[in-house]
Amino acid sequence: MDNLQSLTYFAPEWGLIATVVVVLLVDLIRNRRDDRQVGTWFVAGLIVTALLLLGNTPDHTLSLFRDAVAWDPFSHFFKEIVLLSSLFVAVVVLNSRELDGYPLGEFYMLLGIMILGMFWMVTSIDLLMAYLAIEIVSLTSFVLAGYLKRSRRSNESALKYVIYGAFSSGLMLFGFSYLFGLTGTTKFHAVAAALRNLDPSAYGAVVVASILILAGFGYKISAVPFHFWTPDVYEGAPTAVTAYLSVAPKAAGFALIIRFFHDVLAVPTGEGLAWSSIGNLPWPQLLAILSVVTMTLGNLVALRQTSVKRMLAYSSIAHAGYMLMALPVLSQDGVFAILLYLVMYLLMNLGAFFVVIVVENRIASEQFEDYRGLGWKMPYLGVLMTLFMFSLTGLPPTAGFIGKFYLFAAVIKAGSAYYWLALVGVINSVISLYYYLRVVKMMYLKGDPQETLEGAGRFYRSVLTLLALPTLLLGLYWAPVAEWVRQSLLLFKP
């Protein structure tokens, strides 16, 4: 489809761009004292975008802009995920004290651009497009991580982020260049077609290229051994940004990784959505091992954290590991499980981070020790945090359990070859219980039940309830979400 025609399918992106422009203008002409005005405009813009997005729901697949971008239910799903998490974060930032004293206009503008980048990330079916999108997301997130200019920690995290990011994208780009050289094209499907006909002697180069590319993708979803930036950046960045980084870019990264590995490095087999790796290269096994290493490392290191925020950073690494489990099986169920997990993960992870924000606002600490007796001091918050923690552990009846259930189901369904993966996965959930439970232990088992503290406030209460309710209810009845995910399983194919 040519460029002009393609623009009609770009309504949500138009909406976003308009939002960014509006925010920019409002920021220029607004009353300097009232930062909230920008935020309100931004949120309104996001809502409009969301409406446009919903109005633009694909029922078939197309490729736009001369095969640079896909327009398919798969990417639509991810756009929804990204937009949903952005809405939550935008609203929370509006009410957080973290960014007091910093201009919010630019913050929202950057956020808007980042969303745009992620939209492209999840839709790109071209190496160049993918690179551009990743860079857009990275550049904006560098700035967001370092947004607290006067905070040394925020600064440091931004520096690490930028160096690590640049390095990783450099590796990825170098991998891209080899891939391009091997196939002579940058379009995913063309690359795949060329790879299929490739002389097996060139497989070595394919391996090198894909591993370099994996470094770039792995950095985005913080998979071991490309995760090192994660804890430091997560800790240093404003908590709202951390929450956002742990969800939206990660989701986008998974979108890209799923698309890349299924479209480029694998060929469909049989009926339905099932693949086998090109030339039977052993990258599924590699991903399985990476998944195991990722979740194990994330969980083990999380055990030792003294800061809840940093613990959540490691936990997000572990969760990336869980999700990676479903990639090697190369099946529709695997993709389904990842998508479903992302939904659940969004809810519970944002919830957990928001609780950290509230606590930070209230007692200016994110240390485990300071959560002592919090369950009694702020009862509602305590209950919600407990729910999020159990959900992150993956205990029924919470959304987290359903997510894990589908992941394990996908792995086990693939046959006995991956049973070990499932076993490692479940044992890891047990380990994770320990540190999630530590939060709960601090909140309830320690401290004096008689103390009280001012509650979270109506705003946070309602935001957290919005996250907590589905976290609980989806654990009991998740058919609608499953249906939504099922309909999103359609990837563009030429």
Partner: protein, 513 residues
């Protein structure tokens, strides 16, 4: 006809929780009453269930089935048969009594009773679920309240005990999750217990994974999961700790209901779906039973803390049930199709599950009574309590003698049946386990002697006698214990047809090699 009596059983406690939410937390009296009413109604419904249960059938009754997640063939499916009925009766009853046992809980009363009711729902759900997924959900739902109940209202080491309990059981249950999914995908994509019990034995026939029989792999995964709950040596070390640290009412529930879930799960799932492996595993099961009996008894004999003694006695008592369960292989061709023995053994095991529920509940309540008064549980620290507390001494004697398997009490009948059933197959093991009869008596009588007999310890000269509320919690259990000891057919008639179903399953489908 579709009745929803089982759903009532499950959701009544939840209704109680909802009702509690509207009560301010200062109104502890109202909260307690709500808890009592919820569990009381539940008990009443259970009695109605009992009255309407048709014991001439061995199959599931009062079936309820609703689609839950059709895409994954998950159903909200409930039913009750002879295996679950006893526990379905016991759960509300013990919960009801436990509410009164915990009447003095003052710290965060609302949270306590809300969690308690949630626990109740989880427990009864496990016994009623006919869908593996639902079963698993209920199984896990119990963990959370249990963690808090031990961790917040327990003894000095409560946090350690709570986390240990949680981690131990979670290890077991995640293994079960893997096994469950493996069953699901290899046996026709269903979680339905009834379907699985038909498809699993056939579909898994001859399947091997990494050179191991799939049946055995799944069996072991499930077995570990259940064994932790039972608990079976060497996976038992969470139990004494959890028991000692938990508040009395929770110990009651823990010993009375939770431990039975392991055995119930084995009978329902391991025996039901993987009958072939029963033949392979029965010997091990019997040996584990023996170890549980002897090890538990010896440990109990060594204890100085009364509650720990009772906790170890649980391990000991579960051993008898394991022996009885192993006896099912007597019905096989190799044992001369001794269906008699299989029936006796299995009936003994099921009966033992129930009896241990009542007896250990009694024991824990009684330990709690003296602990409330003396604030310690050192066996050596009492003496001559029979004088100031004659009624308490009498009731405790009933409980202790029930615990040591005195004839005339229900515990005797179940142990006897287990032994009779297991003997034809596992002669040496049974002969060795009969030592347990002696050791049981030794540790109970020794404790009784030191606490109640001998010269009165002057410290406790004015210790108050057991009060009405406490008596109310023990007497029903004592009545059941003695009643079923004299008229065990009242119980066994309920379960015998289901036992035949299990035996048929194991013999017909299992003995294929």
């Amino acid at each position: 006809m579709q009745t929803h009596i089982l759903s009532w059983l499950i959701w009544l406690p939840v209704a109680g929780i909802v009702a509690m939410m509207f009560v301010p937390r200062e109104r502890k009296d109202i909260i307690k009453v709500i808890a009592a009413v919820a569990t009381g109604l539940q008990t009443w419904v259970a009695v109605i269930l009992l009255l309407n249960y048709d014991s001439s059938l061995g199959t599931f009754q009062f079936l309820e089935k609703m689609d839950w997640i059709p895409a994954f063939h998950i159903h909200y499916s409930l039913g009750v048969d002879g295996l679950s009925l006893p526990m379905v009766l016991l759960t509300p009853l013990l919960s009801f009594l436990a509410v009164f046992v915990s009447w003095n809980i003052d710290r965060a009363t609302k949270g306590y009773f809300a969690l308690f009711l949630l626990l109740d729902t989880g427990m009864i759900g496990v016994f009623l679920a006919l869908d593996f997924f639902l079963f698993y959900v209920f199984w896990e739902v119990m963990l959370l309240p249990m963690y808090f109940l031990i961790g917040m209202w327990g003894g000095p080491q409560r946090e350690y005990a709570a986390i240990k309990f949680f981690l131990y059981t979670l290890v077991g249950s995640v293994l079960m999750l893997v096994a469950m999914l493996a069953l699901y995908f290899t046996c026709g994509q269903t979680f339905d217990f009834i379907t699985l019990s038909q498809t699993a034995p056939e579909q898994l026939q001859g399947v091997t994974w990494w050179g191991l029989s799939a049946i055995r792999v799944i069996w072991v995964l499930l077995f570990i999961g259940f064994a932790i709950k039972v608990p079976i040596f060497p996976l038992h070390t969470w139990l004494p700790l959890a028991h000692v640290e938990a508040p009395t009412a929770i110990s009651v529930i823990l010993a009375g209901i939770l431990l039975k879930m392991g055995l119930y799960g084995m009978l329902r799932i391991n025996y039901g779906f993987l009958p072939e492996a029963v033949w392979w595993f029965a010997g091990t099961l019997a040996v584990l039973g023996l170890i549980n009996v002897i090890w538990g008894a010896l440990c109990a004999l060594a204890q100085k803390d009364l509650k720990k003694l009772v906790a170890y006695s649980s391990i000991n008592h579960m051993g008898y049930a394991l022996l009885g369960m192993a006896a099912v292989v007597a019905a096989g061709a190799m044992q001369g199709e001794n269906v008699q023995a299989a029936q006796a053994g299995l009936a003994g095991a099921v009966f033992q599950m129930f009896n241990h529920g009542t007896i250990s509940a009694m024991l824990f309540i009684l330990v709690g009574v003296v602990y409330d008064r003396a604030h310690h549980r050192e066996i050596e620290g009492f003496g001559g309590l029979a004088k100031p507390m004659p009624i308490y001494a009498g009731v405790t004697m009933v409980a202790f003698f029930a615990g040591l398997g005195l004839p005339g009490m229900s515990g005797f009948v179940s142990e006897f049946l287990s032994f009779v059933g297991a003997f034809p197959v596992f002669k040496v093991i049974v002969i060795l386990s009969t030592l347990g009869i002696l050791l049981n008596a030794a540790y109970f009588l020794r404790a009784y002697l030191k606490i109640f007999f001998g010269p009165l310890n002057e410290k406790y000269a004015t210790i108050p006698e057991i009060n009405g509320r406490e008596l109310f919690t023990v007497v029903p259990l004592a009545v059941i214990t003695i009643g079923l000891g004299v008229f065990p057919h009242l119980f066994l008639n309920l379960v015998k047809n289901t036992i035949d179903v299990v035996i048929t399953q194991v013999v017909q489908l299992g003995n294929l090699f």
